[in-house]
Symmetry: D2
Subunit: 355 residues, 4 copies
């Protein structure tokens, strides 16, 4: 059912992984292609990338591992941090609870889903749950809460503020639970304006997190970071989960490039700029925002009339179909979004309005 | 402990995944980099690659899926074909039994390891095992044999003959077990001279197999093929196992390239040519072969004197350390092996002999 | 923290498994103790019990297996009916979702928890969920719904009516999902008055269910029934799950006794009679029912004053603590409940009221 | 296929779980049947049994848990002691490797099977394996050895000497691995004459072990003992594995009885006495022992002539069929074996010889 973009008339805003990689990455892949290196991450590119990431996080001793994709990174890290009778607390809307086909459960663990607001787990919600859990006389018969998972940006494009993350950290510390942050789109969170969480703050607050490459300029790849110590046997666990890339150099090289001269933040910043333009275009064209996202995913309500006009010309993800023919639509920008495409979208929308 | 190759003086024959990808692949990655496609394998490159693979296998209706790496491909396919109380029969030396960190077991299945000869599972060995199993009155208390796994080429570089594969197929059919072939180095098997198993014969005999890309010219990637039908829900299982690449196009594009104009076989043929030269060089230099492999992995016994002379100049994998200081060494060639490197090796060995 | 009942002054209504077994069961255990039988369910008592159960269900070809406890029965049956990428739909309050310590997840499957009312899953709720699921374009990335689990009586003592069960059956049939009924307290449902679901109706509607022994007169034991066919390899799966009792005769003998001369229904009827008396006593004493249960579990609101008066004299399960010092209390009767204990409770409550 | 023993003419020596329980156990079950206790092991019988077991082991602080059967005890303890990427070292012939239907693997762990002699794992074999493992440069890609499992008595009725167990302990300590002993038939080991391992020595050497009840006088039940500390969350893990009995009192009461006035050892001693008589009878009748077992399982070679004569009169387990019509037969005695049955066997054998 999906079709390749044809003559440029179709505009795609469906997601942030529709293109390949940032050109600098391809350039280095080509330049180093015939150099010989050992496999499985034991190569100089990985070494260099790890150093740069440790420095960027402010944890010179951090353990860094490179994996291929998000679901496998989540499943591996979660499995490494839980005992078999423990589960992972997550927002009901969390990626691990909805769109990873039960990867956490196949590892033997329950996702302890809590109500969330716009994708965000509230420290107080977590605290109440934990307090209730440990007060329950039948707690021993239940899955033990073993860690907390959050995504940042969330699946709704929203962000935890530094205060919110600290509050979660405090609850976790109080109950002895590690805190893990899924940063599939981390760049777009780091670049989302003033006062947002920095990489250093995230490393300070979290026991583990990953820096997403797939959606932020790489062909593929995620960098798992344990600021203090990695779980024992993590490499073997990765291998067991099918998460060790033979030519690990490909991952090292991509992250080395992204963390050289601020490329990761710079291209993320471009996506944010494009997203803010997109937001203006949508609202100016009479498509109200469904929620106010500061990152690269924008959600707007498109009425039936707009949807018909865009059909065959502009592609987006339908988040929610409504009975009146309108829909909540998700538009994603990325490091690769071109300004001309936004202008083209604006033009299409202007025609609609005239009708 | 591993080091990057320095000024060209160090020669590496450790494995077949020390370089990037065949230049044609990089070329196409670059050329298509900014084209937009949908994710998860729903793109025209995957579609085209699947068609070419189906044709090459002689099964126009075959189900083809692209995965990133071998361990994950094995674990996913095996999980898809077994019921929870079943195990997979494999050679004791099989990759899944030794070097995949228990990926099959983490999926809940036992590897039923049988004795093998130079990596090959004999049809008669399998038949005896099955006959004994089903005659055992306590069979119901034991892991049920649910499928047969073989690797081709094996971990020792050896090959099943067409007769041997057919014999395995017959045993499998008799006991109602699917037969699965791990083709991590399949190209090097297909190109290993006259009378070797063809892709069509493999597809004819096996219920599932994979065509290895990682070790045969691709940056990464394996093509899982189910000549007749794929197990129900295979895509979701892949997702659950963390084996779905977001930018699936990268896999499609690589396999499309490899299966265009016979590139896969051609580059495999080069590796075989290099391997045969290597074999000559080793034996001519007084390093007896440990076993006679027709494919890209060559095993020779290096005495202490040879090992010392090569130290710091030629790198290979130590397969087995011996008490007298000698060792069984594995040398691997690949699509990327250069003739000049073989000549350099020959020269180094000639110095040794002169000493 | 729990204490054995001392001199008879403490009354326990905490649950329905506080005593041993119905005396007839002990009698037969003693009478047959030194007879020799083969193990693992291959004995004449199991054979006889299976026949009686098949007859009682109206399915003379039903497959019947005996297991020791409820959690293990649920986990084994669910695992036997799902493919690895499938999950089980259940009420949020379902036992498998709350009080089995993640036994389903440790088998690799997600519990797809849906909102429920007083423990009951509504056919319409299930239908809407399934309709939405299969319409979702990202369904392939999500755990596939693979079966429906209900408990009858539910964890709240409530019952599905024949119409409600048929409606669930229809939804299941429409979507090709098996329906499984957890009958941990099945006897108390079957004996709960006129018009309730019969064993034949349950067998007619469900693909699998179990008849609870542990809570209904046995020392322990549950009878898993597959009215039409058992999943392939079910015995081996039981063994793998640690659910095969070596001296299977103990299970056969207990169920044979329970299904002889209507003992199972008769003793369940006694528990219901006691529960109805209990209900009267509670309401007459000014303790309003929290919900209206037709089975052996009764839920009432006890105010602070009542709770203090009963302290140290009457024990019950606190279902929900409230801020004003009152509580929702669960009182359970069973086959073993004595009328004199109800009278003693009534007396204690009468003192409270006088105060 | 198995048949109940008819009129007493058939003699069964097939296994040690063909009868119910020692009469003292039934007596106490009956005497306490209507006493009310809390469930899940929170009852005074469990408390008392734990104290007696702790005392018998010489570890007053030992953690003791009661489970229903051997497979579930092994699977739960092993899961509790391993990290997900670790496996358990065991003899090739170990129960967990052969006759538990993959219960260890379903928990995600590989059984690392080593060659053994008559069921016994040699300390030197284990040491060599571990030394080789950690020297292997690809160790990180392999299942990590995480614990050592032995059975005592073994599946062949043989015993570890105190020296042999200490030697295993030393290897384990050196490599940081816990040592676990499966005591399904422990009583028959403890009572097997002078100089055998005592319970105190076992507790001293092992990190975990279980005292078998099912095969040694109980209806069912195994007592898991962790002499020093139990793994965190062990109760919840038991629950998750379906290994918590609702009426835990049944387990407590049985072990309390077995560990009162030395009953466990006394009835085990009876089985040993019977086994030694059996051994004499077999050898005197010209049936050579296949191996020399000091415990309740005796293995003899029965020639075709003997087998035919015993057919329909004496039942035993066929351990190995041979081409010449002879067989290795296992005869098991137990706490319940009657002297008259041995005399009857002797008589049958005497007829054979005369023929």
């Amino acid at each position: 059912m999906p079709q390749e973009r044809g003559d440029g008339q179709m505009l795609y805003f469906n997601c942030d992984y529709m293109e390949g990689a940032h050109p600098k990455i391809l350039e280095r892949l080509c330049a180093t292609n015939l150099k010989q290196t050992f496999g499985y991450g034991e190569d100089p590119y990985c070494e260099s990338a790890k150093k740069k990431i440790r420095r960027a996080c402010g944890f010179p001793e951090a353990a860094v591992y490179f994996l291929v994709g998000g679901t496998q990174t989540n499943a591996t890290i979660i499995k490494s941090m839980l005992r078999p009778y423990e589960g992972v607390i997550a927002a009901e809307s969390g990626h691990i609870n909805v769109h990873e086909a039960g990867a956490v459960e196949t590892g033997g663990h329950k996702v302890l889903a809590l109500p969330a607001s716009l994708g965000k787990l509230d420290a107080e919600t977590v605290r109440c749950y934990l307090e209730g859990f440990f007060r329950d006389p039948s707690a021993g018969h239940m899955v033990q809460p073993g860690m907390v998972y959050i995504s940042h940006p969330t699946e709704y494009g929203t962000l935890y503020s530094p205060q919110e993350l600290k509050a979660l950290r405090e609850v976790c510390t109080r109950y002895g639970l590690p805190l893990y942050l899924d940063g599939a789109r981390l760049g777009y969170g780091l670049a989302a304006g003033e006062g947002v969480l920095t990489l250093e703050q995230i490393a300070e607050c979290c026991d583990a997190f990953y820096i997403g490459g797939t959606k932020v300029g790489a062909l593929f790849g995620e960098a798992a970071v344990f600021p203090r110590t990695a779980p024992k046997g993590f490499f073997t666990l990765m291998k067991q989960q099918g998460a060790v890339l033979a030519k690990g150099r490909l991952l090292g090289l991509q992250f080395d490039t992204l963390f050289t001269d601020g490329l990761y933040l710079r291209i993320s910043g471009h996506a944010i700029e494009m997203a803010m333009r997109l937001k203006e275009i949508l609202t100016a064209s009479g498509c109200p925002l469904w929620l106010d996202s500061p990152t690269n995913q924008q959600f707007a309500v498109l009425d039936k009339c707009v949807r018909e006009a865009l059909a065959g010309k502009v592609s987006y993800e339908v988040w929610e179909e409504r009975e009146d023919g309108s829909a909540v639509a998700r538009f994603a920008t990325s490091w690769a979004t071109k300004e001309e495409d936004l202008l083209a979208l604006e033009r299409e929308l202007s025609f609609v309005r005239r009708a």
